[in-house]
């Protein structure tokens, strides 16, 4: 298999590989327009058609495609060339000479290192990480044994038992009371809030009161209280039939009400010194 005869069918070029190379070298074809991956694919397809792996062809192709890739990369990033091209010929020559001199020095230094390495090649020594990190001495100020004993005694004491009482606080869901009051108002047109919640704990009463406010807000009932601390009377609103609150309101309200009850658990309906009248 001869690499140069590889037939190519690319967007920018159609024909044998060596013609492509010739055109690129004569600068009649801009390498930036050539799809190099396409060339690789074409070569690999040709390679796959054969049963044997042609190492010589592979090597030749690798060299050629690598050279093309480098040329293309340089064409795509022309900054350095432009830098030199912008200079006057005299300046460019000086800049080139300077760079060459710099590289010459680097090569010279490399040559010295190579010679040195050869001359010092018979140096054998222990190599590797330190067996342990260097020991750092941190001198301590003299300490009083009695104060150490005191601190130990403090540590030896059993710590006070952590109270878990707050874990028992359960805030009954407001939604539970929403359902309950709705059911109640279907059976009766009015009820007394205090008689309904009289048996409950203070937390339950608080949740129940929030449920009441929620229903009032939704326009499902009205609330009356004759005077501060007077019994709260709940009335069914005949005009608007009970409609369920939207799920969004349901989920939003309990969390807000929890915040309220946690902050002011003592403020239940008994301390509310106001009267709500139905609209």
């Amino acid at each position: 298999m001869i690499v140069r005869e590889l037939e190519l069918d690319l967007d920018a070029f159609e024909g044998p590989f060596d013609l492509l190379l010739a055109l690129v070298l004569k600068e009649e074809l801009d390498l930036r327009d050539v799809d190099l991956a396409g060339i690789v694919t074409a070569f690999l397809e040709r390679l796959a058609e054969r049963e044997e792996l042609d190492l010589e062809a592979c090597g030749e192709f690798l060299v050629l495609i690598a050279a093309l890739l480098e040329l293309k990369a340089r064409a795509l990033f022309p900054d350095e060339a432009a830098e030199l091209a912008e200079l006057e010929p005299e300046e460019a020559a000086e800049e080139l000479a300077r760079r060459l001199a710099e590289y010459r020095r680097a090569k010279e230094a490399a040559a010295w290192l190579r010679d040195r390495l050869a001359a010092e090649g018979d140096r054998y020594f222990r190599l590797g990480p330190a067996p342990c990190a260097p020991k750092v001495e941190t001198p301590l100020a003299p300490q009083d044994p009695e104060s150490l004993a005191q601190v130990l005694r403090l540590l030896a004491q059993e710590p006070p038992e952590v109270s878990l009482s707050h874990m028992a606080l359960r805030f009954p869901p407001v939604s539970q009371f929403l359902e309950r009051f709705r059911a109640l108002l279907q059976r009766r047109s009015r009820f007394d809030f205090e008689t309904e919640v009289g048996e409950m704990t203070r937390l339950e009463q608080a949740s129940a009161f929030l449920a009441l406010l929620e229903l009032r807000r939704a326009g499902e009932l009205s609330i009356e209280q004759a005077a501060p601390f007077a019994p709260i009377r709940v009335l069914r609103l005949e005009a608007s039939p009970a409609k369920p609150t939207t799920p969004g309101q349901k989920t939003a309200t309990p969390s807000a009400s929890l915040g309220l009850t946690q902050e002011n658990p003592a403020e239940d309906e008994r301390t509310a010194a106001w009267t709500v009248r139905s609209a």
Binding site: P89, A101, A106, A109, L113, R114, Y124, F125, P131
Partner: protein
């Protein structure tokens, strides 16, 4: 009593030399006089004296060990006559097989360091990434901060291991390279001739 009293050190120099030998044999990197002084719990001047004693002890033909000052500290190494036996015991260290690209990169870092990969690429005219990675892996160079006060490219410098492999006490032992030779002047002249033709 007309003779003045002489202060006798608590430990004779001979004992201190024994301690230094022990420290040097367990260390895997050269130890500075200060490090030795701290470890031996003695003062640096006496350490220097004791080191001379150790050096003399190993200088004669009886020992296969050599005491040397390298990479800014003191270390033991095998005598050169024993290199063949050492080579049979160990594989050739990876640090000793360096490609031309690696040597040029190492030279640039040693002479101009700390310097970054773009610096190296600018001088050599090709990307330095693989040569730098190679040298890093061999422990001959190490990272040393960044360009532009921390925000730029990583900079590299040579390591104490580099000095040790190349048998240098410090980087100041590298030869000066100011003189690039007469042919450089010739190249410059040729470039200028070309430039004149171009601009004409």
């Amino acid at each position: 009593m007309d003779r003045p009293l002489r202060l006798i050190p608590t430990d004779p120099l001979d004992k201190l030399a024994r301690t230094l030998e022990a420290l040097l044999v367990v260390a895997s990197a050269p130890l500075s006089v200060d490090e030795l002084a701290t470890a031996a719990n003695d003062d640096p001047e006496r350490i220097e004296d004791a080191l001379r004693l150790v050096g003399e002890r190993f200088a004669d033909e009886r020992s296969g060990i050599v005491l040397e000052h390298v990479a800014g500290g003191w270390a033991f190494r095998a005598g050169r006559e024993e290199a063949a036996a050492c080579a049979r015991l160990f594989e050739r260290p990876a640090q000793r097989n360096l490609s031309q690209a690696a040597l040029e990169t190492l030279a640039i870092v040693a002479y101009l360091g700390p310097c970054s990969r773009p610096d190296i690429a600018r001088i050599r005219g090709v990307a330095a990434d693989s040569a730098v990675a190679n040298l890093l892996e061999r422990g001959l160079i190490a990272e040393a901060g960044r360009d532009n006060g921390g925000g730029g490219a990583v900079r590299y410098r040579t390591t104490p291991l580099f000095e040790r492999i190349f048998g240098l006490d410090s980087l100041s032992e590298l030869p000066r390279l100011d003189d690039v030779g007469a042919d450089m002047a010739e190249i410059r002249d040729r470039l200028h001739t070309v430039a004149e033709k171009r601009s004409a």
